[in-house]
């Protein structure tokens, strides 16, 4: 295990004044992973990324990258490259000069730089834009220049700070697949910071959910979605109904799509009667808020498989049913 990890974060803490941004974090990231650090703003995910890049130094603990202790190693000597949220493209250089910047710092020979830059621009499909300035590019093109600039040095570890946040929704979806394809093709390790759970779920091979400077759960997207450890994780990743068990001593997370809506009492292991109080039609699915007879409020999602009919009305009396293993009991 120790030998295969490309990153080991061991008991790392970082404080800014009175605020503890990162609180005793332990984490191992494996070679070839696309790892996502997921959390709301101020949860410490970006600080953790900056600790890896070397822009921040830990107050306690240490960071090991590729078996090498990074304590005291400045950013320009670390085997990592970062793609910045703002992209941080050099405005006074054209696209090719931006991408070649890191290679020039290595003192690489000019023809070799030209070759590598052309290759990197091809990978992000920007070959025709080599002579443009960043100001002459669209947001999506700038994002790809930033990616090419970080990739061209073939770092052992590529850090991505909210790589898709500045793109509009449509572009974001295409770019997601593109980045996963690049990561697999190049066989690099990506560590990505994002606040967007959908992004993390769809791209990452594993993810860590952070809250208040701590990692609250690490696992594959499937693991974390289906077996959340805490109420926080269950609520942060997707939507979850939290049901009390044993009179509130324990808790059960039940996803809205695991619950079925029925006109009459269903034969499922669990069943409850209620009334629909709200309907949110989202096109591909509908979300219903159902007030159950025992006084709780449950969210139910149904896929709109048929074009017409099959929908339920507000105020309608319904039965809710789910199987015994549909919910997941939370540890905390």
């Amino acid at each position: 295990m120790k030998d295969t990890s490309i990153v080991r974060i061991e008991g790392v803490s970082k404080r800014f004044g009175a605020i503890t941004a990162v609180d005793k974090v332990d984490l191992a990231i494996e070679r070839g992973e696309l790892f996502a650090l997921l959390g709301g703003s101020g949860c410490g995910k970006t600080t953790l990324l900056r600790l890896l890049a070397g822009f921040e130094t830990p107050d306690a603990g240490r960071v090991v990258i590729d078996g090498q202790d990074m304590t005291g190693v400045p950013p320009h000597q670390r085997p990592v490259n970062m793609m910045f949220q703002s992209y941080a493209l050099f405005p006074h250089m054209n696209v090719a000069e931006n991408v070649g910047y890191g290679l020039r710092r290595e003192g690489m020979a000019k023809p070799e730089i030209g070759r590598r830059v052309a290759e990197a621009l091809e990978q992000v499909r920007l070959s025709d834009y080599a002579a443009r300035r960043p100001a002459q590019l669209s947001g999506g093109q700038r994002q790809r220049v930033a990616l090419a600039r970080a990739l061209v040095k073939r770092p052992k570890l590529l850090l991505l700070d909210e790589p898709l946040a500045a793109l509009d929704r449509k572009l974001r979806e295409g770019t997601r697949f593109e980045m996963v394809r690049l990561q697999e093709e190049l066989g690099l390790t990506f560590v990505m910071v994002t606040h967007d759970q959908e992004e993390a779920m769809s791209m990452a091979s594993r993810l860590a959910v952070m809250d208040l400077g701590r990692i609250v759960q690490v696992g594959t997207p499937h693991d974390v979605y289906e077996r959340p450890r805490s109420r926080f994780v269950a609520g942060f990743i997707g939507i979850a109904n939290i049901l009390p068990l044993d009179g509130g001593k324990r808790w059960l997370a039940l996803r809205p799509e695991k619950i079925g809506l029925f006109a009459a009492r269903p034969s499922t292991e669990q069943a409850e009667a209620g009334r629909i109080v709200d309907v949110a039609y989202e096109g591909d699915r509908s979300l219903y808020r159902v007030a159950t007879d025992d006084g709780s409020m449950l969210l139910v999602a149904t896929a709109n498989v048929a074009r017409e009919g099959g929908s339920w009305q507000r105020g309608q009396d319904v039965w809710l049913g789910w199987s015994a293993d549909a919910g997941h009991e939370l540890d905390e």
């Binding site: 890049a53 070397g54 822009f55 400045p74 950013p75 320009h76 000597q77 990592v80 490259n81 970062m82 910045f84 703002s86 941080a88 493209l89 050099f90 405005p91 006074h92 910047y101 890191g102 710092r105 290595e106 100001a135 600039r149 970080a150 040095k153």
Partner: protein, 287 residues
């Protein structure tokens, strides 16, 4: 501004400075040009006989006194500009990187000297640099130097005075350029393997070029024609063109020659000023 016609108020606001320039710059300039083309007539008042002679201009290019004064002015102004740049850049950089809440105070300290009259400050330098001035008294008191030379009346005194007087004009535009610089760009440079000094040379320096150009021109342009500093601090140490102009006008009462010099000074400075304007326009475009 869209393409719609300018409103009356707009026209007025724009016309006002133009009117000001016509009355207080263009007309006097035409007068000066007319005088420059005339000949000296010491017995009449004013001491000018109007005409269309280029003799005054010709003299400026042939007499070694004037050519020497020009060269000295450009040399001294250029040196002062360079020294101000070398001193001002680290200052501006430090202020721009200081904690935001400290910056207003630091900037105020840069412009604090302006609260006192320029003339008084130059006189103060005379007191400092004179043969029995504070500096030499101090040097003798320390016993390290028995017979210190006198700085007052030399080109060094002029340089010192100019750097002192014009340093704020260098620092402020440099600060404006450096303060705008996104620190993220320096992080990106470091992340891509640039040592701090390499990051400075490849990112900070090129991106602060508009500030460097503005600062240098703001120092160089007034320094070339400077009169007070060379007159009070330089004495006979170095003849700068501003002082020669003054002498021609007041001591020799040769108005036409003095006018020709004034016009030639202006022509020489139009080049750098135009350059400055182009730089400014270019940096605006880039945004």
């Amino acid at each position: 501004m869209s393409r719609r016609a300018l409103s009356l108020g707009m026209r007025f606001v724009i016309a006002l400075p133009y009117a000001w320039l016509v009355v207080f710059f263009l007309l006097p300039f035409a007068l000066v040009l007319a005088i420059a083309l005339g000949t000296n007539a010491p017995d009449s008042a004013p001491p000018v006989e109007l005409g269309l002679s280029l003799a005054n201009f010709a003299l400026l290019f042939t007499d070694t006194l004037y050519i020497g004064a020009w060269l000295a002015s450009i040399r001294i102004a250029a040196t002062a500009t360079l020294v101000a740049l070398l001193l001002g850049y680290p200052m501006a950089y430090a202020v721009a990187r200081a904690e935001p809440r400290h910056r207003p105070l630091l900037l105020m300290l840069v412009i604090l000297p302006f609260w006192t009259s320029f003339l008084i400050r130059v006189y103060a330098w005379m007191g400092l640099l004179a043969e029995n001035g504070n500096l030499n008294q101090f040097l003798r008191w320390t016993g390290l130097v028995e017979d210190p030379g006198t700085i007052l009346g030399t080109e060094w005194a002029i340089l010192l005075g100019m750097v002192y007087a014009y340093l704020p004009f260098m620092v402020l535009p440099l600060y404006a350029a450096l303060e705008k610089l996104d620190v993220g760009l320096l992080e990106a440079a470091a992340d891509l393997g640039a040592r701090p000094f390499a990051a400075f040379l490849t990112v900070t320096l090129p991106l602060s070029r508009p500030g460097i150009a503005a600062g240098c021109l703001l120092v160089f342009i007034p320094a070339v024609g400077e009169f007070v500093i060379p007159d009070l601090l330089g004495g006979t140490g170095a003849l700068m063109i501003g002082k020669v102009l003054w002498d021609e006008f007041f001591t020799n009462s040769d108005w036409p020659l003095a006018s020709a010099m004034a016009i030639w000074l202006l022509v020489l400075l139009v080049g750098p000023i135009a350059l400055f304007q182009r730089q400014q326009a270019k940096s605006l475009e880039r945004r």
